[in-house]
């Protein structure tokens, strides 16, 4: 996989009785471009604030990385309430990219993240190519940012990128413009709300993106049958949580077959087993989102769970897991559909 090497790392974890290879120490490090993630588990944008809110529950230095809330040029108030509602096994949100803006982020959030030794990936949202470039260039002036994730896929604001995100030439253009402005890791975060996510991933790869993040939320809706009103103010919103995992996995699988750059797998990861599914299908890193609302320490717990799995399965490195999906026993994959 180009641009993607593994550095061996002696992870310390309790050796369990059940281990098949008790002397084995698994490596969980992953390097993409010039960023080394100490483990493959990141927090998903918009589900962990600025990484500073949960200090009493989690040491951010133990995460693969903190991906920030989407940062825009100006502060954004966000959408009116109701912004969230729970659905069966998931939730809808229409936050509307509420964030402090790039200036406040750089002056008052980033220094604190650095003090806490977090690996910081800044997620950027914008409503024009110029705005994406502006925010990234402002960030480039500062130390302590490992890389960028570009949100071209927020379903919740008219100008939040989804109009870009569903238009392949725009995604390609944004990737090209940003690639020309940074030598740091550049990951493009894709929407699943398109017919062929593979096409978008290929465009990103073609323009020099280091990775693609798959996926942002699915468009969803819920209605209160007593009032017959939509349950969130924007009528439709972003659907996340365990219910979307099978759909997200299928998107990762589709992208895996289409590109060679690393995939950051996202969608409904609640525990280590879920994360491992994404790795097996071909994700190099994973992000944990909605699960953090229930358990803010889910990210570090999942990272430890992956380590345990590796040692229990006698694997020397998480790399052995990535893309290890075994389809050899499947009947003809090109059979007449699966319906």
């Amino acid at each position: 996989m180009p641009g993607c090497i593994v550095v061996r790392f002696l992870a310390s974890f309790p050796i369990r009785q059940s281990q098949r290879h008790s002397s084995l120490v698994a490596s969980t490090e992953i390097t993409i471009r010039n960023v080394t993630f100490k483990n493959p588990v990141l927090t998903a944008s918009g589900t962990f604030g600025y990484g500073l809110e949960c200090e009493s529950f989690v040491d951010v230095a133990e995460l693969g990385a903190v991906v920030t809330k989407s940062i825009s040029r100006k502060p954004r108030d966000g959408n009116p309430p109701q912004r969230i509602c729970e659905t069966t096994g998931g939730m809808l949100n229409s936050i509307g990219l509420a964030n402090v803006g790039v200036d406040v982020f750089l002056s008052s959030k980033l220094p604190l993240l650095r003090e806490r030794n977090a690996t910081v990936v800044v997620n950027i949202a914008a409503s024009s190519v110029e705005e994406y470039c502006y925010v990234l260039e402002r960030c480039e002036e500062h130390e302590g940012i490992a890389g960028y994730e570009i949100n071209v896929s927020c379903p919740n604001v008219k100008d939040g990128g989804l109009n870009f995100g569903t238009h392949c030439p725009s995604v390609a253009q944004i990737t090209r413009e940003l690639r020309g402005r940074t030598s740091k890791m550049l990951a493009m975060k894709l929407t699943p709300n398109v017919t062929s996510i593979a096409e978008f991933a290929r465009a990103c790869e073609g323009e020099g993106a280091d990775a693609v993040s798959c996926v942002n939320t699915f468009v969803g809706m819920a209605v209160d049958i007593h009032t017959r009103r939509p349950k969130i103010a924007t009528i439709t919103g972003g659907y996340s949580g365990p219910a979307i995992k099978p759909m997200a996995l299928a998107k990762v699988y589709e992208v895996r077959k289409a590109v060679n750059i690393p995939i950051i797998g996202i969608g409904g990861i609640m525990n280590a087993a879920d994360a491992i599914e994404f790795l097996v299908v071909g994700a190099t890193l994973v992000q944990v989102g909605t699960a953090l609302f229930v358990d803010p320490a889910a990210g570090t717990a999942i990272a430890r769970g992956i380590e345990t799995y590796l040692s229990e399965h006698g694997m020397a490195s998480v790399r052995e897991l990535i893309g290890s999906l075994d389809t050899s026993m499947q009947p003809s994959l090109i059979a007449a559909g699966w319906g």
Binding site: F57, I84, A98, F293
Partner: protein, 262 residues
């Protein structure tokens, strides 16, 4: 702010559709101030997925009590908990009531399960040397846990089956008529309609009123931006109920901006 799995000590139904759960957590009990809330995980399944917010009702030594209505699947699971069952608790969360200051009498007004934060607040106020009166309203007597959990209670029922026949604003008006309105401060929790009516009443008379709000939350700790309420003052458009609230001066927020949950 802590997260721990506690064991249920006591569970009971105390009035019509009103349940209590009691559990022990030394750390949370000692850290909690009146008006703060806990985020409870009904069970370890993904349905219900999110935690549920409950005000701390009472604290006696290390024992913490919550009181609640059954309204949906989360609260139904909580109501079925039995002594010894585990419960995943996060808290204390939110900013406490702003109860410090120079005033003589605190009037605690609650409607329905809005009774929740009043006992812990009343206990604290008594310890600070304030006089405390509770005005608690419900639709009928059967919905009121009339068992001594409120200090100096005055009850109001819509059907007149207990206490004052009418709503809490009427009961408050009668009390102020008898006792005067100088040197008082009001704290309230209940349905938004009640808080709105109370706000109008207090504003017309220049009485200070702090209200405890409810709104849907995903995280309860400020990481999702899911719980905004519009500000009437200051230069920010929204405040997050979970981290800046849930307790606000009635004139700082736009009550109507909170959508009704049911």
């Amino acid at each position: 702010m802590f997260q721990e799995t506690v064991s249920i000590l006591h569970s009971a139904q105390v009035a019509e559709n009103v349940y209590t759960l009691e559990f022990v957590s030394e750390r949370i009990a000692h850290a909690t101030l009146p008006g703060q809330f806990l985020n409870l995980k009904p069970d370890d399944s993904f349905d219900p997925l999110l935690r549920r917010a409950y005000s701390v009702h009472r604290i006696r030594e290390d024992r913490i009590e919550v009181i609640f209505n059954v309204v949906g699947k989360g609260s139904r699971i909580l109501a079925a908990k039995e002594p010894g069952d585990p419960l995943d608790v996060m808290g204390p969360l939110g900013v406490p009531f702003h109860y410090e200051g120079e005033y003589g009498t605190a009037i605690l007004v609650s409607g329905g399960v809005g009774i929740a934060p009043m006992p812990i607040l009343g206990d604290r106020l008594l310890a600070l040397g304030k006089s405390v009166v509770n005005i608690h309203g419900a639709r009928t007597a059967g919905m009121i846990a009339n068992d001594g959990r409120l200090t100096n209670p005055i009850f109001a029922t819509d059907d007149g089956s207990l206490g004052f026949h009418g709503n809490v604003v009427g009961a408050l008006d009668a009390w102020l008529h008898d006792h005067g309105a100088s040197n008082v401060r009001l704290f309230a929790c209940g349905p938004n309609r009640m808080l709105g009516a109370l706000g109008e009443y207090c504003n017309a008379r220049g009485l200070p009123l702090e209200v405890s709000l409810e709104c849907q939350m995903a995280c309860g700790i400020g990481i999702c931006q899911g719980c905004p309420v519009e500000m009437a003052t200051g230069n920010r458009k929204y405040t997050l109920v979970c981290t800046h609230g849930p307790n606000y001066d009635i004139n700082d927020i736009v009550l109507d901006s909170i959508p009704s949950v049911h």
